[in-house]
Amino acid sequence: MAEIVITGLGIISALGSGIEVTVGRLLSEKSAVEKIKHLQTVHCDLPAGEVPYSDTQLREMLNIAPDYNITRTSLMGQVALKEAMSQAKLSDKQNFTVALVAGNTVGGMEKSEQYYHHFLNDEEYKEYIGLHDCGACTEMIAQGTPFNFDLVTTISTACSSAANSVFFGADMLKTGRADIVVAGGTECLSKFHLNGFNTLMILDSEVCKPFDKNRRGLNLGEGAAFLVMETAESARRRNVVPICKLSGYANRCDAFHQTASSPEGEGAFLAMEGALADAALQPADIDYINAHGTGTPNNDESEGHAMMRVFGDRIPPVSSTKAFTGHTTSASGAIEAVISILSLTRGFIPANLNFSEKIDSLNFMPVTKTMQGVNLRHVLTNSFGFGGNDSSCIFSKIEQQ
C-alpha cells in the first residue's frame, strides 16, 4: 500500500493565523479562550475561542472585496488552505489530480441566523441562501484558489468531520483516485451552535479544564485547518519535503446515544484500536496522545476509559489542547492534527491547561507542563463527534535515511 505523507499544513484558530504563531502560543501556555467579542449574542459572558480577526480583517488578508458574498466559515477556510498549499508548493496544478475535502457542520449558519427573516420575507441577502449549506462553504473555499480541483466534497460527522476528511483523502490516494488531496475542516462560531451546546448544558462558564476531576464543560471555538496529503512517490516526483506520514486511521461508531458517549468508551476504544492495527503499531509505540478532551464530564471520563482499555497501565503522555483553542467542532480534527504534527516534528508536547486534580476512575493525569526537546516517533489524535462518530489517526516521523 502506498505510503501517505503530509507536505503542507495550514491553520487558523483563536491562537492566530499560521503554524509559527500557533507553535509560539502553545509554548507560551496561554489560553486564547476569552469572553465573546465578535459574535453578537446575549450569552457574551460565555468564554469562547474566537479567531482574533473580524470578517473585514479576514477579507483584507485574502484580498477579497467587501461586496463579495462569502461566509466567515469559508473565509477562515481560505486562510488555512492558502497556507497549506503554499507550504506544499501547490501553486501550479500541472497534470496532477487534486481533491479538496473539508469537514463542516453548520455551514453558513452564522450568516443565515443574521439574515433569516430576510430569507423568509424579502429579497435582501438572498445570495446567502445558496451559501448556507455545508457543501456551498467548501465550494467557496475552493474558489479562493486559482486551482481547478478535480473533486470537492464535504464531510459532516459533527466534531470528527475534519478527521474523517483526512481519512477519505487517504483512501483516495490509496485507491489511485487522486495524486494529491487537501483535507481538513472549518467551522465558525454561530449563535446556533453556541445556543445548541448551551441548551445541552455542556458549556463551562469559565475556561475549560480537560481531564480535571472538577471539569464542568467545554468552550466552543472556531477556526480552520488543512493538510496537504500525497503519496511518498508523488512528493518525491514534485520535489517537496514530506513533513511526516499518516500511518494509520480508523472511523468507528459508539452507537450508544445521539449526544452522549458510552461510559466504557466503546467507539473511542474501537477507533484507537483500529488506527493502531491500520498502522501495524503496538500501543507502546505511541509517544503522545492529543486527546479529544473537551472538558465535559462525559467525554473525558469515557475517552479516559477507552485509553485505559487500549494502553492499560502504560498510558503515553496525554494532553488536550482544547483549553488553548476552544472546541473548534468540525475543524477540530484538522486543527488538532496540525498541532499533533507540529509536536511530532518539533519535539514538544503541549500542556493540558487548567488541570489540578485527577479523575478518580482514571489511572492517568494529563501533561500539565509543556515538554520540550522530546523525541516523538508516533502521535495519536482523537476526534469524537455527536452520534458516536469516533475517529482516531496516527502521524509518524519519517525516518532519516
Partner: protein, 354 residues
C-alpha cells in the same frame, strides 16, 4: 473485487417502500411535493418514534427495509449523503432562538439538527459499531457517499455497506430556494419539464437506502462496475474519463443500453446533460427520473435506485425514457451520470448480473 447492489428501499413522493412506481408511477401534481409516509409502527417502536424527527424515521425505516430485502443483519458500514440534513429540526431550533431571544430552546431539536444524526441514528438502532460517515455536498452528497463506500470495498475494509441519501423539504426552505431559482414559478408537469425549459424544477423529498455487498446472492439487483468523478470538467475530460471507465470494465460503448441522467427541466442543469449526451453518448436512450421523484439535493440516489431497478427487471418502461414511445428490453449495461451546477460530476457503470 466486485460490488453488488443487493437491495434498495425508498420513501419519496412515490408509494413508499415499493417499486410500484416502476409499473404505475404517480405523476406529481404540483411543484412542492412532500413524501408519502409509510406506517412507521412496524419498523420503529412508538416510544422511540415519538422522539425522532421525520427524516430520522424515514432513514431508520428504509435502512431496515433494505437490510431485510438484501438478507443482511448487520452492515459493515453506514454512509449517508444529505444536502441539508435534518432541516425541519434546524428550523425549529433557529426559529425558537430568534423568537425567544436565545432563551428557552428545545435541546432535542438541536440534537437532531446535525447532518450526521441520520447515519448515527441508523447505527444506534442497529447497534452497528462499524464505519459511519456522512457527506453534505449539495447535489453530489449521495455520490460522495457511494464513492466512499466503493473505496472501502476496493481497500478490502468492508464486505457490506448501507449507502443512503436523505433530504427533506419544508415549506420555508422551499420558499427560500425558490428565491434563488430552484423551482418553477408556474405549475410544472412532466410535459412542461420535458418540453419547455425554464428556471427551476419541481421539488421532491428523498430517502433511499441501498445495500451493497462484495458477494452475490439471490437478491442481488445488479453490479456496480465502477464510479468515477470529475469537477468542472471540459468536454474532452468527460470523454476521456468515460473511455477509461469502459475500457477498465471491459465494456464497449456499443454495449451501453441507456444513460440515466438528472434532467430536471431546469434549462441550465439540462443543457449540461444534453451537451455531454451529444458529445459522449450520441444516440443512446436517455432515462430520467426527477419528473417522478422531484429535485432535491439527494435526488441522485434515485438515479442509482432507478438504474438498479431497471437492471433487475432488464427492462426500461416507457415512462422513464426521455424521448421514446416504447420501452426497452434486454437491458444489460447502464451509465448513471449526475452533475450538480456543472461542478462535481459522477459517472457510474452498472451491469446486470442476469
Amino acid at each position: 473485487m466486485s460490488v453488488y447492489i443487493q437491495s434498495a428501499a425508498q420513501i419519496s413522493i412515490q408509494e413508499p417502500l415499493t417499486e410500484k412506481w416502476f409499473a404505475e408511477p404517480h405523476i406529481p401534481a404540483g411543484n412542492f411535493n412532500l413524501s408519502i409516509e409509510p406506517d412507521y409502527k412496524s419498523f420503529i417502536p412508538p416510544a422511540e418514534s415519538r422522539r425522532m424527527g421525520r427524516l430520522l424515521k424515514r432513514a431508520v425505516t428504509t435502512s431496515k427495509e433494505a437490510l431485510r430485502k438484501g438478507g443482511c443483519e448487520m452492515p459493515d458500514a453506514i454512509i449517508s449523503g444529505t444536502g441539508l440534513g435534518c432541516i425541519e429540526n434546524t428550523e425549529k431550533f433557529l426559529n425558537a432562538m430568534l423568537d425567544n431571544g436565545e432563551e428557552c430552546m428545545p435541546p432535542t431539536a438541536f440534537m437532531q439538527s446535525t447532518h450526521n444524526t441520520i447515519s448515527s441514528q441508523v447505527a444506534l438502532t442497529l447497534k452497528c459499531h462499524g464505519y459511519n460517515s456522512t457527506y453534505s455536498q449539495q447535489g453530489f452528497s449521495f455520490d460522495s457517499a457511494l464513492l466512499d463506500a466503493f473505496m472501502q470495498f476496493e481497500l478490502g475494509k468492508i464486505g457490506t455497506a448501507l449507502v443512503e441519501g436523505h433530504d427533506e423539504m419544508t415549506p420555508d426552505y422551499y420558499n427560500m430556494l425558490g428565491k434563488i431559482g430552484y423551482w418553477r414559478k408556474e405549475t410544472a408537469d412532466t410535459e412542461k419539464l420535458r418540453k419547455s425549459k425554464g428556471v427551476g424544477s419541481i421539488s421532491g423529498s428523498s430517502s433511499v437506502s441501498i445495500l451493497l455487498s462484495d458477494k452475490l446472492n439471490d437478491n442481488t439487483l445488479c453490479e456496480i462496475k465502477n464510479i468515477v468523478t470529475l469537477h468542472s470538467p471540459n468536454k474532452s475530460e468527460i470523454w476521456n474519463v468515460v473511455s477509461r471507465l469502459l475500457a477498465k470494465a471491459g465494456v464497449a460503448m456499443s454495449d451501453i443500453d441507456a444513460v440515466v441522467v438528472g434532467l430536471s427541466g431546469d434549462a441550465e442543469n439540462d443543457s449540461v446533460y444534453e451537451s455531454v449526451m451529444s458529445q459522449c453518448f450520441t444516440d443512446k436512450p436517455v432515462v430520467w427520473y426527477k419528473h417522478l421523484f422531484g429535485e432535491s439535493f439527494c435526488a441522485s440516489a434515485f438515479g442509482m435506485y432507478v438504474a438498479a431497478t431497471i437492471l433487475n427487471n432488464r427492462f426500461i418502461p416507457k415512462h422513464l425514457l426521455y424521448k421514446s414511445d416504447k420501452g426497452i428490453n434486454n437491458v444489460k449495461n447502464l451509465i448513471v451520470y449526475n452533475h450538480f451546477h456543472n461542478k462535481n460530476h459522477s459517472i457510474t457503470l452498472l451491469q446486470s448480473i442476469k
